[in-house]
Protein backbone atom coordinates (compact mmCIF):
# COMPACT_ATOMS: atom_id res chain seq x y z
CA UNK A 1 0.00 0.00 0.00
CA UNK A 2 1.21 3.47 -0.86
CA UNK A 3 -0.18 6.75 0.38
CA UNK A 4 -0.14 10.17 -1.24
CA UNK A 5 -0.87 13.10 1.04
CA UNK A 6 -1.19 16.82 0.49
CA UNK A 7 -3.17 19.11 2.81
CA UNK A 8 -6.32 18.73 0.74
CA UNK A 9 -5.89 15.33 -0.85
CA UNK A 10 -4.98 11.96 0.57
CA UNK A 11 -5.20 8.75 -1.39
CA UNK A 12 -4.13 5.20 -0.77
CA UNK A 13 -3.56 2.59 -3.44
CA UNK A 14 -1.86 -0.73 -3.84
CA UNK A 15 1.45 -0.77 -5.67
CA UNK A 16 0.54 -4.00 -7.41
CA UNK A 17 -2.69 -2.52 -8.79
CA UNK A 18 -0.79 0.50 -10.06
CA UNK A 19 1.86 -1.67 -11.67
CA UNK A 20 -0.69 -3.96 -13.34
CA UNK A 21 -2.75 -1.00 -14.55
CA UNK A 22 0.31 0.69 -16.02
CA UNK A 23 1.28 -2.54 -17.76
CA UNK A 24 -2.21 -2.90 -19.23
CA UNK A 25 -2.16 0.69 -20.48
CA UNK A 26 1.26 0.12 -22.05
CA UNK A 27 0.09 -3.08 -23.75
CA UNK A 28 -2.97 -1.26 -25.05
CA UNK A 29 -0.77 1.44 -26.57
CA UNK A 30 1.43 -1.24 -28.12
CA UNK A 31 -1.59 -3.03 -29.61
CA UNK A 32 -2.94 0.30 -30.87
CA UNK A 33 0.36 1.10 -32.60
CA UNK A 34 0.41 -2.37 -34.14
CA UNK A 35 -3.14 -1.85 -35.37
CA UNK A 36 -2.17 1.49 -36.94
CA UNK A 37 0.90 0.29 -38.84
CA UNK A 38 -0.11 -3.17 -40.05
CA UNK A 39 -2.82 -4.41 -42.38
CA UNK A 40 -3.49 -4.38 -46.11
CA UNK A 41 -1.88 -0.96 -46.34
CA UNK A 42 1.22 -1.10 -44.13
CA UNK A 43 2.46 2.22 -42.77
CA UNK A 44 5.60 3.07 -40.85
CA UNK A 45 5.44 4.59 -37.39
CA UNK A 46 6.92 7.73 -38.94
CA UNK A 47 4.06 7.94 -41.42
CA UNK A 48 1.52 7.46 -38.64
CA UNK A 49 3.09 10.20 -36.53
CA UNK A 50 3.25 12.50 -39.56
CA UNK A 51 -0.44 11.90 -40.18
CA UNK A 52 -1.35 12.69 -36.59
CA UNK A 53 0.60 15.93 -36.76
CA UNK A 54 -1.25 16.85 -39.95
CA UNK A 55 1.59 16.21 -42.38
CA UNK A 56 0.51 12.86 -43.79
CA UNK A 57 -0.42 12.26 -47.39
CA UNK A 58 -4.04 11.77 -48.38
CA UNK A 59 -3.65 8.05 -48.61
CA UNK A 60 -2.33 7.66 -45.05
CA UNK A 61 -4.96 10.14 -43.87
CA UNK A 62 -7.69 7.95 -45.29
CA UNK A 63 -6.27 4.69 -43.91
CA UNK A 64 -5.82 6.10 -40.43
CA UNK A 65 -8.64 8.57 -39.90
CA UNK A 66 -11.35 6.73 -41.81
CA UNK A 67 -10.46 3.06 -41.53
CA UNK A 68 -8.29 2.31 -38.53
CA UNK A 69 -8.57 4.99 -35.86
CA UNK A 70 -12.37 5.15 -35.41
CA UNK A 71 -12.56 1.39 -35.23
CA UNK A 72 -9.72 1.27 -32.73
CA UNK A 73 -11.25 3.93 -30.52
CA UNK A 74 -14.70 2.36 -30.69
CA UNK A 75 -13.20 -0.97 -29.69
CA UNK A 76 -11.23 0.52 -26.82
CA UNK A 77 -14.23 2.39 -25.42
CA UNK A 78 -16.70 -0.45 -25.97
CA UNK A 79 -14.34 -2.83 -24.20
CA UNK A 80 -13.93 -0.45 -21.28
CA UNK A 81 -17.69 0.13 -21.04
CA UNK A 82 -18.52 -3.58 -21.10
CA UNK A 83 -15.86 -4.40 -18.52
CA UNK A 84 -17.06 -1.66 -16.18
CA UNK A 85 -20.64 -2.79 -16.59
CA UNK A 86 -19.66 -6.36 -15.77
CA UNK A 87 -17.45 -5.35 -12.84
CA UNK A 88 -20.32 -3.40 -11.26
CA UNK A 89 -22.79 -6.26 -11.73
CA UNK A 90 -20.40 -8.91 -10.44
CA UNK A 91 -19.76 -6.85 -7.36
CA UNK A 92 -23.42 -5.98 -6.75
CA UNK A 93 -24.63 -9.56 -7.12
CA UNK A 94 -21.51 -11.00 -5.43
CA UNK A 95 -21.53 -13.43 -8.33
CA UNK A 96 -18.36 -13.81 -10.40
CA UNK A 97 -20.43 -15.08 -13.33
CA UNK A 98 -22.56 -11.97 -13.53
CA UNK A 99 -22.58 -9.83 -16.65
CA UNK A 100 -25.22 -7.74 -18.40
CA UNK A 101 -26.75 -11.04 -19.53
CA UNK A 102 -28.03 -11.86 -16.09
CA UNK A 103 -30.22 -8.82 -15.67
CA UNK A 104 -31.85 -9.49 -18.99
CA UNK A 105 -30.11 -6.66 -20.78
CA UNK A 106 -28.37 -8.62 -23.53
CA UNK A 107 -31.36 -10.71 -24.58
CA UNK A 108 -33.65 -7.70 -24.33
CA UNK A 109 -31.33 -5.66 -26.55
CA UNK A 110 -31.25 -8.55 -29.02
CA UNK A 111 -35.04 -8.58 -29.11
CA UNK A 112 -35.09 -4.88 -29.88
CA UNK A 113 -32.49 -5.21 -32.62
CA UNK A 114 -34.09 -8.25 -34.25
CA UNK A 115 -37.52 -6.66 -34.11
CA UNK A 116 -36.24 -3.56 -35.91
CA UNK A 117 -34.35 -5.64 -38.51
CA UNK A 118 -37.08 -8.20 -39.14
CA UNK A 119 -40.29 -6.21 -38.75
CA UNK A 120 -39.39 -2.80 -40.21
CA UNK A 121 -36.08 -3.47 -42.00
CA UNK A 122 -34.61 -0.54 -40.13
CA UNK A 123 -31.23 1.11 -40.65
CA UNK A 124 -28.19 0.46 -38.50
CA UNK A 125 -28.99 3.49 -36.35
CA UNK A 126 -32.58 2.37 -35.91
CA UNK A 127 -31.33 -1.08 -34.94
CA UNK A 128 -29.00 0.38 -32.34
CA UNK A 129 -31.78 2.53 -30.92
CA UNK A 130 -34.20 -0.40 -30.85
CA UNK A 131 -31.64 -2.55 -29.08
CA UNK A 132 -30.94 0.12 -26.50
CA UNK A 133 -34.59 0.86 -25.83
CA UNK A 134 -35.75 -2.72 -25.40
CA UNK A 135 -32.61 -3.63 -23.45
CA UNK A 136 -33.22 -0.80 -20.99
CA UNK A 137 -36.91 -1.68 -20.69
CA UNK A 138 -36.08 -5.32 -20.02
CA UNK A 139 -33.58 -4.39 -17.32
CA UNK A 140 -36.08 -2.05 -15.70
CA UNK A 141 -38.71 -4.80 -15.75
CA UNK A 142 -36.28 -7.25 -14.14
CA UNK A 143 -35.44 -4.71 -11.44
CA UNK A 144 -39.10 -4.02 -10.68
CA UNK A 145 -40.02 -7.72 -10.66
CA UNK A 146 -37.16 -8.44 -8.27
CA UNK A 147 -38.11 -5.54 -6.01
CA UNK A 148 -39.46 -6.46 -2.61
CA UNK A 149 -38.42 -4.00 0.08
CA UNK A 150 -35.25 -3.52 -1.89
CA UNK A 151 -33.48 -5.73 -4.37
CA UNK A 152 -31.24 -8.58 -3.31
CA UNK A 153 -28.54 -9.73 -5.73
CA UNK A 154 -29.78 -13.29 -5.73
CA UNK A 155 -33.38 -12.39 -6.61
CA UNK A 156 -32.13 -10.13 -9.36
CA UNK A 157 -30.09 -12.95 -10.90
CA UNK A 158 -32.96 -15.47 -10.80
CA UNK A 159 -35.54 -13.08 -12.28
CA UNK A 160 -32.95 -11.98 -14.85
CA UNK A 161 -32.37 -15.56 -15.97
CA UNK A 162 -36.11 -16.15 -16.26
CA UNK A 163 -36.75 -13.01 -18.27
CA UNK A 164 -33.70 -13.69 -20.47
CA UNK A 165 -35.05 -17.13 -21.33
CA UNK A 166 -38.36 -15.55 -22.30
CA UNK A 167 -36.71 -12.95 -24.51
CA UNK A 168 -34.59 -15.65 -26.12
CA UNK A 169 -37.78 -17.47 -27.08
CA UNK A 170 -39.16 -14.26 -28.60
CA UNK A 171 -35.91 -13.78 -30.54
CA UNK A 172 -36.02 -17.29 -31.96
CA UNK A 173 -39.64 -16.82 -32.94
CA UNK A 174 -38.89 -13.50 -34.68
CA UNK A 175 -36.10 -15.08 -36.69
CA UNK A 176 -38.37 -17.89 -37.90
CA UNK A 177 -40.75 -15.22 -39.24
CA UNK A 178 -37.96 -13.35 -41.06
CA UNK A 179 -36.93 -13.38 -44.68
CA UNK A 180 -33.58 -15.01 -45.35
CA UNK A 181 -31.98 -11.61 -45.82
CA UNK A 182 -33.33 -10.21 -42.55
CA UNK A 183 -32.41 -13.38 -40.71
CA UNK A 184 -28.83 -13.00 -41.92
CA UNK A 185 -28.75 -9.36 -40.88
CA UNK A 186 -30.14 -10.30 -37.48
CA UNK A 187 -27.57 -13.04 -37.09
CA UNK A 188 -24.77 -10.62 -37.98
CA UNK A 189 -25.99 -8.20 -35.34
CA UNK A 190 -26.28 -10.99 -32.77
CA UNK A 191 -22.61 -11.91 -33.09
CA UNK A 192 -21.52 -8.31 -32.70
CA UNK A 193 -18.35 -6.80 -34.03
CA UNK A 194 -16.45 -3.72 -34.99
CA UNK A 195 -16.52 -4.08 -38.78
CA UNK A 196 -17.28 -0.78 -40.50
CA UNK A 197 -17.48 1.14 -37.23
CA UNK A 198 -16.72 4.79 -37.76
CA UNK A 199 -16.58 8.12 -35.92
CA UNK A 200 -20.33 8.16 -35.24
CA UNK A 201 -20.08 5.11 -33.00
CA UNK A 202 -16.86 6.28 -31.38
CA UNK A 203 -18.37 9.68 -30.55
CA UNK A 204 -21.53 8.25 -29.00
CA UNK A 205 -19.61 5.81 -26.81
CA UNK A 206 -17.12 8.49 -25.81
CA UNK A 207 -19.86 10.91 -24.84
CA UNK A 208 -21.72 8.37 -22.71
CA UNK A 209 -18.49 7.15 -21.08
CA UNK A 210 -17.53 10.73 -20.27
CA UNK A 211 -20.65 10.92 -18.11
CA UNK A 212 -20.91 7.40 -16.72
CA UNK A 213 -17.25 6.67 -16.00
CA UNK A 214 -16.94 9.42 -13.36
CA UNK A 215 -20.27 8.29 -11.87
CA UNK A 216 -18.97 4.74 -11.65
CA UNK A 217 -15.71 5.82 -10.04
CA UNK A 218 -17.45 8.00 -7.46
CA UNK A 219 -19.88 5.19 -6.61
CA UNK A 220 -17.06 2.64 -6.61
CA UNK A 221 -16.14 3.20 -2.99
CA UNK A 222 -19.69 2.58 -1.87
CA UNK A 223 -19.79 -0.48 -4.13
CA UNK A 224 -16.83 -1.91 -2.22
CA UNK A 225 -18.70 -1.43 1.06
CA UNK A 226 -21.89 -3.00 -0.31
CA UNK A 227 -19.89 -6.19 -0.94
CA UNK A 228 -19.79 -6.65 2.84
CA UNK A 229 -23.58 -6.89 3.01
CA UNK A 230 -26.32 -4.29 3.30
CA UNK A 231 -26.14 -4.16 7.11
CA UNK A 232 -22.43 -3.47 7.26
CA UNK A 233 -22.67 -0.92 4.45
CA UNK A 234 -25.60 0.86 6.09
CA UNK A 235 -23.71 0.92 9.37
CA UNK A 236 -20.90 2.74 7.60
CA UNK A 237 -23.26 5.32 6.20
CA UNK A 238 -24.09 3.96 2.74
CA UNK A 239 -27.69 4.20 1.62
CA UNK A 240 -27.73 0.64 0.31
CA UNK A 241 -30.84 0.63 -1.83
CA UNK A 242 -30.27 4.00 -3.45
CA UNK A 243 -26.62 3.22 -4.15
CA UNK A 244 -27.52 -0.12 -5.69
CA UNK A 245 -30.12 1.45 -7.98
CA UNK A 246 -27.66 4.15 -9.07
CA UNK A 247 -25.01 1.54 -9.82
CA UNK A 248 -27.46 -0.61 -11.76
CA UNK A 249 -28.43 2.38 -13.87
CA UNK A 250 -24.77 3.16 -14.58
CA UNK A 251 -24.04 -0.47 -15.37
CA UNK A 252 -26.98 -0.88 -17.72
CA UNK A 253 -26.22 2.46 -19.36
CA UNK A 254 -22.68 1.32 -20.10
CA UNK A 255 -23.85 -2.02 -21.46
CA UNK A 256 -26.47 -0.23 -23.55
CA UNK A 257 -24.10 2.14 -25.29
CA UNK A 258 -21.56 -0.64 -25.89
CA UNK A 259 -24.23 -2.86 -27.37
CA UNK A 260 -25.64 -0.06 -29.50
CA UNK A 261 -22.19 0.58 -30.95
CA UNK A 262 -20.93 -2.94 -31.49
CA UNK A 263 -23.68 -5.45 -30.80
CA UNK A 264 -23.49 -7.99 -28.00
CA UNK A 265 -19.77 -8.75 -27.88
CA UNK A 266 -19.49 -11.82 -25.74
CA UNK A 267 -17.37 -12.46 -22.72
CA UNK A 268 -15.66 -9.07 -22.17
CA UNK A 269 -18.06 -8.08 -19.39
CA UNK A 270 -17.60 -11.46 -17.74
CA UNK A 271 -13.86 -12.02 -18.16
CA UNK A 272 -12.27 -8.58 -17.94
CA UNK A 273 -13.27 -7.84 -14.32
CA UNK A 274 -12.18 -11.33 -13.26
CA UNK A 275 -8.84 -10.98 -14.98
CA UNK A 276 -8.30 -7.52 -13.54
CA UNK A 277 -9.22 -8.56 -10.02
CA UNK A 278 -6.92 -11.55 -10.08
CA UNK A 279 -3.98 -9.68 -11.57
CA UNK A 280 -4.23 -6.76 -9.17
CA UNK A 281 -5.06 -8.95 -6.17
CA UNK A 282 -7.62 -6.30 -5.24
CA UNK A 283 -10.15 -6.86 -2.49
CA UNK A 284 -12.63 -4.43 -4.02
CA UNK A 285 -14.36 -4.14 -7.37
CA UNK A 286 -11.31 -2.54 -9.04
CA UNK A 287 -13.20 -0.51 -11.62
CA UNK A 288 -10.24 1.29 -13.19
CA UNK A 289 -8.28 -1.92 -13.70
CA UNK A 290 -11.38 -3.64 -15.11
CA UNK A 291 -11.96 -0.86 -17.62
CA UNK A 292 -8.32 -0.96 -18.72
CA UNK A 293 -8.48 -4.73 -19.08
CA UNK A 294 -11.71 -4.52 -21.10
CA UNK A 295 -10.19 -1.99 -23.48
CA UNK A 296 -7.01 -4.03 -23.85
CA UNK A 297 -8.90 -7.27 -24.42
CA UNK A 298 -11.03 -5.79 -27.17
CA UNK A 299 -8.19 -3.94 -28.90
CA UNK A 300 -5.99 -7.05 -28.94
CA UNK A 301 -8.89 -9.25 -30.04
CA UNK A 302 -9.84 -6.91 -32.85
CA UNK A 303 -6.23 -6.70 -33.95
CA UNK A 304 -6.14 -10.51 -34.05
CA UNK A 305 -9.30 -10.95 -36.11
CA UNK A 306 -8.32 -8.20 -38.54
CA UNK A 307 -4.79 -9.37 -39.16
CA UNK A 308 -4.98 -13.15 -38.73
CA UNK A 309 -8.16 -13.55 -40.78
CA UNK A 310 -8.10 -10.49 -43.06
CA UNK A 311 -10.41 -11.92 -45.70
CA UNK A 312 -13.20 -13.34 -43.56
CA UNK A 313 -14.37 -10.26 -41.63
CA UNK A 314 -14.50 -12.39 -38.53
CA UNK A 315 -16.48 -10.73 -35.69
CA UNK A 316 -14.39 -9.64 -32.74
CA UNK A 317 -16.64 -11.51 -30.30
CA UNK A 318 -15.06 -14.75 -31.46
CA UNK A 319 -11.59 -13.53 -30.53
CA UNK A 320 -12.63 -12.06 -27.18
CA UNK A 321 -14.10 -15.43 -26.31
CA UNK A 322 -11.00 -17.30 -27.47
CA UNK A 323 -8.31 -15.01 -26.06
CA UNK A 324 -10.12 -13.95 -22.88
CA UNK A 325 -11.38 -17.47 -22.22
CA UNK A 326 -8.01 -19.10 -22.67
CA UNK A 327 -6.30 -16.55 -20.50
CA UNK A 328 -8.92 -16.83 -17.76
CA UNK A 329 -8.75 -20.62 -17.73
CA UNK A 330 -4.96 -20.49 -17.56
CA UNK A 331 -5.02 -17.93 -14.77
CA UNK A 332 -7.57 -19.86 -12.68
CA UNK A 333 -5.81 -23.19 -13.15
CA UNK A 334 -2.52 -21.57 -12.22
CA UNK A 335 -4.04 -20.02 -9.08
CA UNK A 336 -5.71 -23.23 -7.98
CA UNK A 337 -2.46 -25.18 -8.40
CA UNK A 338 -0.85 -22.72 -6.03
CA UNK A 339 -3.84 -23.17 -3.75
CA UNK A 340 -4.49 -19.47 -3.40
CA UNK A 341 -7.62 -19.15 -5.51
CA UNK A 342 -11.14 -19.12 -4.22
Amino acid sequence: MRTIRTPAVSLRFSERALLVSTAMAALTVAAAVATMVTGDFPLTIGEVLATFSGNGDGYADFVIFTLRLPRLITGLLVGAALALSGAILQSLSRNPLASPDIIGFTQGAATGAIAVIVLVQGSMTATALGATAVGLLTSAAVYLLAFKQGVQGFRLVLIGIGVSAMMLAVNSYLITRATLESALAAQTWLVGGLNNRGWDEAQVVAAVLAVLLPCALVLGRRLALLEMGDSAATGLGVNAERTRLALLVVSVGLAAVATAAAGPISFVALAAPQLARRLTGASGPGLVASALMGGLLLVVSDFAVQRLFPTTQLPVGIATGAIGGLYLVWLLAHEWRKGSGT
Binding site: R5, R12, V218, R221, E227, G229, A232, T234, G235
Partner: protein, 276 residues
Protein backbone atom coordinates in the same frame (compact mmCIF):
# COMPACT_ATOMS: atom_id res chain seq x y z
CA UNK B 1 -17.68 15.28 24.05
CA UNK B 2 -19.74 16.62 26.99
CA UNK B 3 -21.01 13.98 29.37
CA UNK B 4 -24.79 13.80 29.09
CA UNK B 5 -27.11 13.46 32.06
CA UNK B 6 -27.23 9.80 33.12
CA UNK B 7 -31.01 9.80 32.94
CA UNK B 8 -31.21 10.86 29.33
CA UNK B 9 -30.69 8.74 26.28
CA UNK B 10 -29.29 10.07 23.04
CA UNK B 11 -30.86 7.08 21.31
CA UNK B 12 -34.48 6.16 21.85
CA UNK B 13 -37.47 4.72 20.07
CA UNK B 14 -40.95 6.04 20.61
CA UNK B 15 -44.22 4.19 19.92
CA UNK B 16 -42.44 1.83 17.51
CA UNK B 17 -44.43 -0.62 15.44
CA UNK B 18 -42.03 -2.84 13.55
CA UNK B 19 -43.03 -5.32 10.88
CA UNK B 20 -41.69 -7.42 8.06
CA UNK B 21 -44.26 -7.05 5.28
CA UNK B 22 -47.59 -7.67 6.99
CA UNK B 23 -46.20 -9.54 9.99
CA UNK B 24 -46.05 -7.16 12.94
CA UNK B 25 -43.23 -8.17 15.29
CA UNK B 26 -43.39 -5.37 17.83
CA UNK B 27 -46.08 -2.75 18.37
CA UNK B 28 -46.29 0.39 20.43
CA UNK B 29 -42.81 -0.08 21.86
CA UNK B 30 -41.00 2.67 23.77
CA UNK B 31 -37.35 2.10 24.38
CA UNK B 32 -34.58 4.36 25.59
CA UNK B 33 -30.89 3.54 25.75
CA UNK B 34 -29.33 5.22 28.82
CA UNK B 35 -26.19 7.12 27.88
CA UNK B 36 -23.00 5.46 28.94
CA UNK B 37 -24.73 2.16 29.61
CA UNK B 38 -23.96 -1.33 28.42
CA UNK B 39 -27.50 -2.20 27.47
CA UNK B 40 -28.33 -5.79 26.59
CA UNK B 41 -31.59 -6.85 25.01
CA UNK B 42 -32.68 -10.40 25.84
CA UNK B 43 -35.72 -12.52 25.16
CA UNK B 44 -36.75 -15.82 23.58
CA UNK B 45 -36.58 -16.42 19.84
CA UNK B 46 -39.02 -14.33 17.79
CA UNK B 47 -39.55 -11.76 20.55
CA UNK B 48 -38.26 -9.06 18.20
CA UNK B 49 -35.00 -8.18 19.97
CA UNK B 50 -32.93 -8.15 16.81
CA UNK B 51 -35.75 -6.31 15.08
CA UNK B 52 -35.63 -3.54 17.68
CA UNK B 53 -31.86 -3.29 17.25
CA UNK B 54 -32.32 -3.06 13.47
CA UNK B 55 -34.80 -0.23 13.93
CA UNK B 56 -32.43 1.61 16.30
CA UNK B 57 -29.70 1.21 13.65
CA UNK B 58 -32.07 2.62 10.97
CA UNK B 59 -31.89 -0.71 9.09
CA UNK B 60 -35.63 -1.17 9.39
CA UNK B 61 -38.11 1.61 8.86
CA UNK B 62 -40.76 1.62 11.59
CA UNK B 63 -44.34 1.41 10.48
CA UNK B 64 -45.40 3.85 13.15
CA UNK B 65 -43.40 5.86 15.64
CA UNK B 66 -39.81 6.88 15.18
CA UNK B 67 -36.29 6.40 16.38
CA UNK B 68 -34.62 9.54 17.72
CA UNK B 69 -30.90 10.20 17.76
CA UNK B 70 -29.79 13.31 19.64
CA UNK B 71 -33.34 14.61 19.57
CA UNK B 72 -33.91 14.32 15.83
CA UNK B 73 -35.68 11.57 13.91
CA UNK B 74 -32.87 9.28 12.77
CA UNK B 75 -34.09 9.13 9.17
CA UNK B 76 -33.79 12.91 8.87
CA UNK B 77 -29.99 12.71 9.04
CA UNK B 78 -27.77 11.90 6.11
CA UNK B 79 -26.69 8.29 6.39
CA UNK B 80 -23.03 9.28 6.75
CA UNK B 81 -23.89 11.68 9.59
CA UNK B 82 -25.55 8.84 11.50
CA UNK B 83 -22.52 6.65 10.80
CA UNK B 84 -20.30 9.16 12.59
CA UNK B 85 -22.41 8.88 15.76
CA UNK B 86 -23.66 5.32 15.74
CA UNK B 87 -21.78 2.18 14.72
CA UNK B 88 -23.30 -1.19 13.92
CA UNK B 89 -21.85 -4.68 14.13
CA UNK B 90 -24.33 -6.76 12.10
CA UNK B 91 -25.09 -10.39 12.81
CA UNK B 92 -23.47 -11.47 9.56
CA UNK B 93 -21.14 -9.54 7.33
CA UNK B 94 -19.22 -10.75 4.32
CA UNK B 95 -15.47 -10.24 4.22
CA UNK B 96 -14.53 -9.57 0.58
CA UNK B 97 -12.20 -12.25 -0.77
CA UNK B 98 -8.54 -11.32 -0.58
CA UNK B 99 -8.98 -8.49 1.92
CA UNK B 100 -6.42 -8.05 4.70
CA UNK B 101 -7.25 -7.24 8.29
CA UNK B 102 -5.74 -3.77 7.95
CA UNK B 103 -7.79 -3.00 4.83
CA UNK B 104 -11.03 -4.21 6.39
CA UNK B 105 -10.56 -2.19 9.58
CA UNK B 106 -9.65 0.85 7.47
CA UNK B 107 -13.08 0.64 5.81
CA UNK B 108 -14.54 1.74 9.13
CA UNK B 109 -13.15 5.19 8.34
CA UNK B 110 -15.51 5.63 5.38
CA UNK B 111 -17.97 8.01 7.13
CA UNK B 112 -15.05 10.33 7.93
CA UNK B 113 -13.60 10.32 4.44
CA UNK B 114 -14.30 12.29 1.32
CA UNK B 115 -13.72 11.62 -2.34
CA UNK B 116 -10.31 13.25 -2.37
CA UNK B 117 -9.50 12.67 1.28
CA UNK B 118 -9.43 8.93 1.54
CA UNK B 119 -6.55 8.24 3.89
CA UNK B 120 -5.55 11.07 6.20
CA UNK B 121 -2.99 10.70 8.98
CA UNK B 122 -5.94 10.66 11.37
CA UNK B 123 -7.51 7.74 9.50
CA UNK B 124 -4.25 5.87 9.81
CA UNK B 125 -3.87 6.59 13.54
CA UNK B 126 -7.47 5.72 14.41
CA UNK B 127 -7.32 2.48 12.43
CA UNK B 128 -4.14 1.45 14.24
CA UNK B 129 -5.68 2.31 17.62
CA UNK B 130 -8.82 0.29 16.84
CA UNK B 131 -6.68 -2.73 15.96
CA UNK B 132 -4.63 -2.31 19.12
CA UNK B 133 -7.76 -2.10 21.32
CA UNK B 134 -9.12 -5.32 19.86
CA UNK B 135 -5.77 -7.11 19.85
CA UNK B 136 -5.63 -7.67 16.10
CA UNK B 137 -2.72 -5.34 15.44
CA UNK B 138 -0.33 -8.21 14.79
CA UNK B 139 -2.74 -9.62 12.22
CA UNK B 140 -2.88 -6.43 10.12
CA UNK B 141 -1.32 -8.00 7.03
CA UNK B 142 -3.10 -11.35 7.30
CA UNK B 143 -6.05 -12.24 5.08
CA UNK B 144 -9.37 -12.13 6.91
CA UNK B 145 -10.34 -15.45 5.26
CA UNK B 146 -7.48 -17.19 7.08
CA UNK B 147 -8.51 -16.15 10.60
CA UNK B 148 -10.41 -18.13 13.20
CA UNK B 149 -13.98 -17.19 14.09
CA UNK B 150 -12.94 -15.40 17.27
CA UNK B 151 -10.22 -13.41 15.55
CA UNK B 152 -12.56 -12.49 12.74
CA UNK B 153 -15.20 -11.16 15.13
CA UNK B 154 -12.54 -8.99 16.79
CA UNK B 155 -11.56 -7.66 13.36
CA UNK B 156 -15.16 -6.69 12.61
CA UNK B 157 -15.37 -5.04 16.00
CA UNK B 158 -12.17 -3.14 15.19
CA UNK B 159 -13.77 -1.92 11.97
CA UNK B 160 -16.75 -0.57 13.90
CA UNK B 161 -14.42 1.04 16.47
CA UNK B 162 -12.48 2.73 13.66
CA UNK B 163 -15.74 4.50 12.92
CA UNK B 164 -15.20 6.41 16.19
CA UNK B 165 -18.83 6.50 17.22
CA UNK B 166 -19.86 6.93 20.82
CA UNK B 167 -22.81 4.56 20.38
CA UNK B 168 -22.21 0.95 19.33
CA UNK B 169 -24.96 -1.47 18.35
CA UNK B 170 -23.98 -5.13 18.38
CA UNK B 171 -26.36 -7.72 16.92
CA UNK B 172 -25.61 -11.05 18.59
CA UNK B 173 -21.85 -10.48 18.64
CA UNK B 174 -21.13 -13.87 20.20
CA UNK B 175 -23.09 -16.15 17.87
CA UNK B 176 -20.97 -18.82 16.14
CA UNK B 177 -18.17 -18.44 18.71
CA UNK B 178 -17.06 -21.02 21.26
CA UNK B 179 -17.37 -20.14 24.94
CA UNK B 180 -13.84 -18.80 25.38
CA UNK B 181 -14.18 -16.50 22.39
CA UNK B 182 -17.64 -15.40 23.52
CA UNK B 183 -16.16 -14.24 26.82
CA UNK B 184 -13.23 -12.65 24.99
CA UNK B 185 -15.56 -10.54 22.85
CA UNK B 186 -17.78 -9.61 25.80
CA UNK B 187 -14.76 -8.68 27.95
CA UNK B 188 -13.64 -6.45 25.13
CA UNK B 189 -17.07 -4.79 25.09
CA UNK B 190 -16.96 -4.38 28.87
CA UNK B 191 -13.55 -2.71 28.59
CA UNK B 192 -14.90 -0.27 26.00
CA UNK B 193 -17.81 0.50 28.25
CA UNK B 194 -15.64 1.00 31.34
CA UNK B 195 -13.33 3.36 29.48
CA UNK B 196 -16.35 5.62 29.56
CA UNK B 197 -16.52 6.81 25.98
CA UNK B 198 -19.03 4.35 24.63
CA UNK B 199 -22.67 3.48 24.98
CA UNK B 200 -23.14 -0.15 23.97
CA UNK B 201 -26.32 -1.91 22.95
CA UNK B 202 -26.11 -5.64 22.33
CA UNK B 203 -28.53 -8.43 21.59
CA UNK B 204 -27.45 -11.58 23.42
CA UNK B 205 -28.86 -15.08 23.61
CA UNK B 206 -27.20 -16.19 26.82
CA UNK B 207 -29.12 -14.82 29.77
CA UNK B 208 -26.29 -15.44 32.25
CA UNK B 209 -23.82 -13.56 30.08
CA UNK B 210 -26.37 -10.76 29.73
CA UNK B 211 -26.76 -10.53 33.50
CA UNK B 212 -23.01 -10.52 34.01
CA UNK B 213 -22.10 -7.82 31.51
CA UNK B 214 -25.16 -5.56 31.22
CA UNK B 215 -25.58 -2.42 33.26
CA UNK B 216 -29.05 -2.08 31.79
CA UNK B 217 -31.08 -5.09 30.77
CA UNK B 218 -34.15 -5.01 28.53
CA UNK B 219 -36.25 -8.18 28.61
CA UNK B 220 -38.65 -8.73 25.74
CA UNK B 221 -41.43 -11.27 25.28
CA UNK B 222 -43.08 -12.29 21.98
CA UNK B 223 -46.33 -10.48 21.39
CA UNK B 224 -45.88 -8.26 24.43
CA UNK B 225 -42.75 -6.21 23.89
CA UNK B 226 -40.65 -4.99 26.78
CA UNK B 227 -41.60 -6.75 30.04
CA UNK B 228 -38.89 -5.39 32.30
CA UNK B 229 -35.87 -3.15 32.13
CA UNK B 230 -33.27 -1.96 34.54
CA UNK B 231 -30.15 -3.15 36.29
CA UNK B 232 -30.03 -6.98 36.07
CA UNK B 233 -29.58 -7.27 39.84
CA UNK B 234 -32.83 -5.38 40.34
CA UNK B 235 -35.07 -7.01 37.78
CA UNK B 236 -33.93 -10.59 37.15
CA UNK B 237 -35.99 -12.98 39.29
CA UNK B 238 -37.14 -16.57 38.86
CA UNK B 239 -40.64 -15.22 38.14
CA UNK B 240 -39.39 -12.96 35.36
CA UNK B 241 -37.42 -15.75 33.69
CA UNK B 242 -40.37 -18.11 33.94
CA UNK B 243 -42.69 -15.44 32.55
CA UNK B 244 -40.42 -14.42 29.65
CA UNK B 245 -38.77 -17.71 28.68
CA UNK B 246 -41.24 -20.19 30.19
CA UNK B 247 -38.30 -21.75 32.01
CA UNK B 248 -38.69 -22.81 35.65
CA UNK B 249 -35.47 -21.85 37.38
CA UNK B 250 -33.70 -20.56 40.46
CA UNK B 251 -31.80 -17.32 40.41
CA UNK B 252 -28.67 -17.31 42.54
CA UNK B 253 -25.73 -14.94 42.85
CA UNK B 254 -22.94 -15.63 40.38
CA UNK B 255 -20.08 -16.85 42.60
CA UNK B 256 -17.63 -14.89 40.49
CA UNK B 257 -19.39 -11.55 40.01
CA UNK B 258 -22.44 -11.55 42.33
CA UNK B 259 -24.64 -10.83 39.31
CA UNK B 260 -27.82 -12.93 38.90
CA UNK B 261 -27.16 -16.46 37.68
CA UNK B 262 -30.02 -18.48 36.25
CA UNK B 263 -30.04 -22.18 37.12
CA UNK B 264 -32.76 -24.19 35.38
CA UNK B 265 -34.69 -26.54 37.66
CA UNK B 266 -34.07 -30.27 37.52
CA UNK B 267 -36.08 -31.97 34.81
CA UNK B 268 -39.32 -33.54 36.09
CA UNK B 269 -39.66 -36.94 34.49
CA UNK B 270 -43.00 -37.15 32.72
CA UNK B 271 -44.63 -40.45 33.73
CA UNK B 272 -46.47 -42.26 30.99
CA UNK B 273 -50.14 -42.81 31.66
CA UNK B 274 -51.65 -45.72 29.81
CA UNK B 275 -54.90 -45.17 27.98
CA UNK B 276 -56.91 -41.96 28.06
Amino acid sequence: MPKAEPTTGRLRGSDLTLSYDERVVVSGLDVEIPDGSFTVIVGPNACGKSTVLKALARMLKPRTGAVYLDGEVISSYRSKDVARRLGLLPQTSIAPGGITVGELVARGRYPHQRLLRQWSTEDEAVTAEAMRLTGVHDLADRLVDELSGGQRQRVWLAMVLAQQTSILLLDEPTTFLDIAHQIEVLDLCANLHEDGNHTLVAVLHDLNQACRYATHLIAMKPGVGVVAQGNPADIVTAELVEDVFGLPCRVIADPETETPLIVPLRRQRVTQTSGA
